[in-house]
């Protein structure tokens, strides 16, 4: 079981952590809310928790809690540019119905 970053995503994350001045990695997760049941979580990590799972992807520590991993297994996090907007995108093979906004999904 694992989650990965694209190389571009990893570069951007490393850059953001560097500019922020602290942080050990990036946390991916899900929470149960949103229009399609579940929503993605994307946060800086200052401290890992006891039952966190940690993956290394292109030199960036990816932190995830075991419950979220069930829904995110095989997910690839990408960094994309769409017009003036740019940001992260979850490519999650488990997601079936994604809501139009892409912020929430169900499995």
């Amino acid at each position: 079981m694992s989650v990965t970053l694209t190389e571009r995503a990893a570069q951007h994350i490393a850059g953001f952590i560097d500019k922020r001045g602290k942080g050990v990695g990036i946390r991916l997760g899900i929470k149960t809310s949103g229009c399609s049941g579940m929503a993605y979580k994307l946060e800086f990590v200052d401290q890992t928790l006891d039952d966190d799972l940690v993956f290394d992807s292109h030199g960036v520590k990816v932190v995830i809690d075991p419950k979220s991993l069930v829904y995110l297994d095989g997910t690839e996090l990408d960094y994309v540019r769409e017009g003036l907007n740019e940001g992260f995108k979850f490519n999650n093979p488990n997601a079936r119905n994604q809501c139009g906004c892409g912020e929430s999904f169900n499995v």
């Binding site: 953001f16 929503a39 907007n85 740019e86 906004c101």
Partner: protein, 620 residues
């Protein structure tokens, strides 16, 4: 589909609950919009990757507008309908605008704020600024993929209430929710203070396109306090262009140019100025529509020489601000440079010499204000990081007060009081049986109301009739975090109340703020004399009023000789009250008071015995 940004630990927003907030630097020359993304403040760029948007609006013949870079070329081809530096007109009357003769616009003489006649009709500076803000809003919404929750718009520290209100109105007109208006130097300090986390006293030297602000700030444990602000609302990079322009006209022996040629010469002057920042000399070459040719070479030395006075002019507010803060140049730990004009080497050198240290220039001086505003907007929209408990304190640039009898200004909130602030003061009635009171709110440092800026008037009615001086009217001045004022008056015994939110009438006086401050210092002793005279005049009027009433009620208590003496003294006082001799007036007041002392005692005895009639001593 929305793209995700990285949140702070535990701060992930629920879907569709992202509070998109941006900071906008609405500048005289250029405007920018910035936001906090992935925890970092960044300027948002247009499709070509440019962060800066020139603050230019072109009203096209036949409808439609062009903005920013797209409107740059029409500055030459259609100067009358291409509005640059509109910020200079915000909340200003026609008399307040400097260099009006060099501007190609058709101004309309309207009461209050100046208006510009364009091919698309009459436009107010608020409407023109709203076009700029609307363009920045569109850019932000395209970049962030959603509607904006709120914005922080920056204004020069010296903007008065009229100018702040005009800025707020422009944002509202552009469909923006203003979370706060933030002083530009304070925004710069937010950008620098948080990024570098260094404590101490700092000076922010902000020389923009059209305004100069100097602020003395104190950063302690992440708390910003503005100790003092000073500046000049009519000094900026544009003035350096203007000097070069005049120099070129002079050296190339050109007759007064047409509006189009003037615009092109000014543009060439700006390019020369920018080139001189990096080169020792620059060519000033231009062929005018009139057929005349300009072919000059400007050296750095020439440029420094012709703008020496302008550089000196920036140091005066620096000195005043330091004096207000009770500090000397060596108490300042660092000097933050803001605004494109601070790139000029001789400005940097003058600042370095004055403070005895090299100024800080490690953030882009064009962007630093927008970045700080974005951080503030992010915090105010509720996206604040847990460890960012910083609080922003700002100050009142000019004292706020009320007109009292005799046209004197009674200051209720003193200059440099920290915002938000509320102060109350008690006032009373001047005449017996007075049932209404008129309040005139003024801003400024001078002693006489006529020399201050008038902000608003309102009336309190329904005061119960009482003897003069018996009523107690509590007047409360409140200034919110945006620097906007509300005033309320409450009569204590009945609870009748009246209040006003100062949405000031635009551009009431011609004096600009910096000028007002300067004149308050220059006229300090005149003001003192004037105040002394007015106080005596008010005292004389009160005495005359009291005498008239007493004589009407109890004149039979006086014999003929006494009455003649008193009448003569009253006549003399009446005559002096309109004059300018405070000493003579003071003597006449004293003489009349002495002459009526006996009379007053007799009246007192009579009213006492009246009050006692019908009562026996035990009852008392």
């Amino acid at each position: 589909m929305a793209l995700l940004q990285i949140a702070e630990p535990g701060q992930s927003a629920a879907p569709h609950k992202h509070r998109l907030a941006v900071g906008i630097d609405l500048g005289t020359t250029n405007s920018l919009v910035a936001t906090v993304r992935n925890g970092i403040a960044v300027c948002l760029t247009d499709e070509q990757g440019r962060a800066i948007m020139p603050s230019i609006v072109h009203y096209r013949d036949g409808g439609g507008i062009e903005l920013g870079f797209d409107a740059m070329s029409t500055r030459v081809s259609d100067p009358r309908n291409t509005i640059v530096s509109v910020k200079r007109f915000m909340g200003r009357g026609i008399k307040d605008v400097t260099h009006i003769e060099a501007m190609p616009y058709v101004f309309e003489e309207t009461p209050g704020m100046v208006r510009l006649r364009t091919v698309q009709g009459s436009k107010s500076p608020v409407e023109i600024s709203a076009e700029l803000l609307r363009a920045l809003r569109k850019r932000a919404e395209a970049s962030l993929g959603g509607e904006l929750t709120g914005v922080v718009v920056t204004v020069p520290a010296y903007f008065d209430d009229a100018q702040r209100q005009a800025t707020r109105d422009a944002a509202r007109l552009a469909g923006l929710h203003v979370l706060r208006l933030l002083n530009e130097p304070t925004a710069a300090a937010v950008a620098y203070g948080l990024d570098n986390a260094s404590e101490g006293v700092y000076a922010v030297f902000d020389l923009g396109g059209g305004t100069f602000d100097l602020s003395i700030l104190k950063l302690t444990r992440g708390v910003f306090e503005v100790l003092a602000t000073n500046g000049d609302t009519a000094l900026g990079g544009d003035d350096f262009d203007h000097r070069l322009y005049c120099w070129a006209l002079d050296h190339a022996r050109i007759d007064p140019p047409s509006a189009e040629d003037a615009r092109r010469l000014l543009m060439a002057a700006r390019a020369v100025k920018e080139l001189l920042t990096v080169c020792e000399e620059a060519p000033f070459r231009l062929r005018l529509d009139s057929g005349e040719e300009v072919d000059l070479t400007v050296t750095r030395a020439d440029f420094f020489e012709m703008t020496r006075a302008l550089v000196q002019k920036t140091l005066a507010p620096v000195k005043r601000a330091l004096r207000d803060a009770g500090l000397s140049p060596r108490d300042v730990k660092g000097v933050v440079m803001v605004g494109g004009a601070t790139r000029m080497p001789h400005i940097q050198r003058a600042v370095a010499e004055y403070f005895g240290q090299e100024p800080l220039t490690n953030l882009d001086p064009d962007r630093v204000v927008a970045l700080g505003a974005a951080m503030q907007a992010n915090a105010l929209a509720g996206n604040r990081r847990e460890d960012d408990s910083w609080l922003l304190l700002d100050v009142i640039p000019l004292s706020l007060g009320l007109e009292t009898m005799g046209g004197l200004s009674e200051k209720v909130i003193a200059r440099n009081a920290t915002l938000p602030v509320a102060r109350a003061q008690e006032f009373t009635t001047f005449k017996d049986g007075q049932t209404a009171m008129s309040f005139h709110i003024v801003q400024g440092e001078r002693e006489l109301v006529a020399d201050c800026r008038s902000l608003a008037r309102f009336e309190l009615r329904g005061i119960p009739p009482m003897a003069a001086g018996a009523a107690r009217i509590r007047v409360t001045f409140q200034v919110d975090a945006d620097g906007l004022l509300s005033v309320s008056a409450l009569e204590a015994s009945t609870g009748v109340e009246a209040s006003i939110h100062v949405k000031p009438s635009y551009g009431l006086t011609d004096d600009e703020i910096a000028g007002m401050l300067r004149s308050s210092l220059e006229h300090a002793s005149d003001d003192l004399t004037a105040r002394a005279l007015r106080e005596k005049q008010v005292e004389a009027e009160r005495l005359l009023e009291a005498c008239a009433q007493a004589l009407a009620a109890d004149s039979e208590l006086l014999d003929e000789a006494e009455r003649t003496t008193i009448d003569a003294l009253i006549a003399r006082l009446r005559q002096l009250v309109t004059g300018h001799d405070a000493n003579a007036l003071s003597d006449a007041i004293a003489a009349l008071s002495r002459a009526t002392e006996d009379f007053a005692t007799r009246r007192m005895n009579r009213s006492l015995s009246k009050a006692l009639t019908g009562h026996n001593i035990d009852e008392l």
